[in-house]
């Protein structure tokens, strides 16, 4: 029986730049940073309150996973902002928005009250976008 999700992947254009974004700007913690060989790196980060959910910052490189054309297509799609990889949550959206903006994070949508909640949309350094919502108080 499936009990939980423990790994999820986000495709990024550059792992060094993604490290800086997710760790230094978003405040995620590094879980695993393992060199697998020349130009190959397994890098996972965890959100501050989910230490057992590893987010793999997966480089798009030509190899077993992507052939040359597919890698090029993926990179184009990522940089165009095609992919929204998920929804993050925070305790206070206005404060989080102000802080991330001060750190240089780009937003597609400012904090807005929608019928489903209070939400903003931000982008990572590669172009992937995420919803950021305020945790509902109990």
């Amino acid at each position: 029986m499936i009990t939980k999700l423990n790994h999820v992947s986000i495709f990024v254009l550059d792992q060094n730049s993604a490290y800086d974004f997710y760790v230094n700007k978003l405040g995620f913690k590094v879980h695993t940073d393992a060199a697998m060989g020349p130009g190959m790196r397994w890098l996972t980060v965890t959100p501050p309150e989910q230490p057992d959910l590893e987010i793999s910052l997966m480089a798009v490189t030509e190899g077993m996973m992507f052939d040359h054309d597919s890698a090029a297509q993926m990179k184009t799609l990522i940089s165009k902002g095609t992919f929204g990889f998920g929804v993050f949550e925070c305790n206070d959206l206005l404060a989080t928005y102000e802080e991330l903006k001060a750190k240089g994070v780009k937003f597609k949508k400012e904090p807005t009250k929608e019928f489903y909640g209070f939400e903003a949309l931000f982008m990572d350094d590669s172009g992937n976008w995420f919803s950021l919502g305020q945790k509902e108080s109990a």
Binding site: H7, S9, T32, D33, A34, A35, M36, G37, M40, W42, S56, M58, G63, M64, M65, N91, D92, L94, A95, E98, E99, A102
Partner: protein, 140 residues
């Protein structure tokens, strides 16, 4: 002007600035009273709003930042005393006690575990990668 008459976004920005100030000056002897700012943002309101937003008082948050930085420095191999003083503590005894209370391990115990994990990761990195990903990437 009383605090509650200021536009909400202005107060949020002040709180965020205070938080970012703590993030970058955690190693200094920060006077949290002075962070509360001017006469029209009372220390009481500042602490209350900070706690509402971040779930911790400014003092608790400062401790949290110092301990997190200490963990990173210990992982890099710095000595316990070096870490203690470089993150803003002035007593190794109080640093060790607080670290153990928060992390549930002593600083040296935590460091030994992390350095051993790092060494193991360098020797057998595949142990740390789910096999499906390793296969998809052609690492096995």
């Amino acid at each position: 002007m009383p605090t509650q008459e200021y536009p909400r976004i202005y107060l949020y920005r002040r709180i965020v600035q205070a938080k970012l100030f703590i993030d970058s000056h955690y190693a200094d002897a920060i006077n949290l009273d002075s962070i509360a700012g001017s006469a029209w943002f009372s220390k009481f309101h500042f602490i209350r709003l900070f706690k509402t937003i971040y779930g911790k008082t400014p003092h608790q948050y400062l401790t949290h930042v110092r301990i997190n930085k200490a963990m990173l420095l210990l992982e890099s191999g710095a000595s316990v005393s070096e870490v203690c003083y470089s993150v803003g503590f002035d007593s190794i005894t109080s640093f060790t006690g607080l670290f153990k209370r928060v992390v549930k391990q002593t600083p040296s115990g935590y460091q030994q575990l992390q350095l051993a994990r790092k060494a193991d990761m360098g020797k057998t990195p595949l142990k740390y990668v789910p096999n499906c990903f390793a296969e998809a990437k052609g690492w096995v």
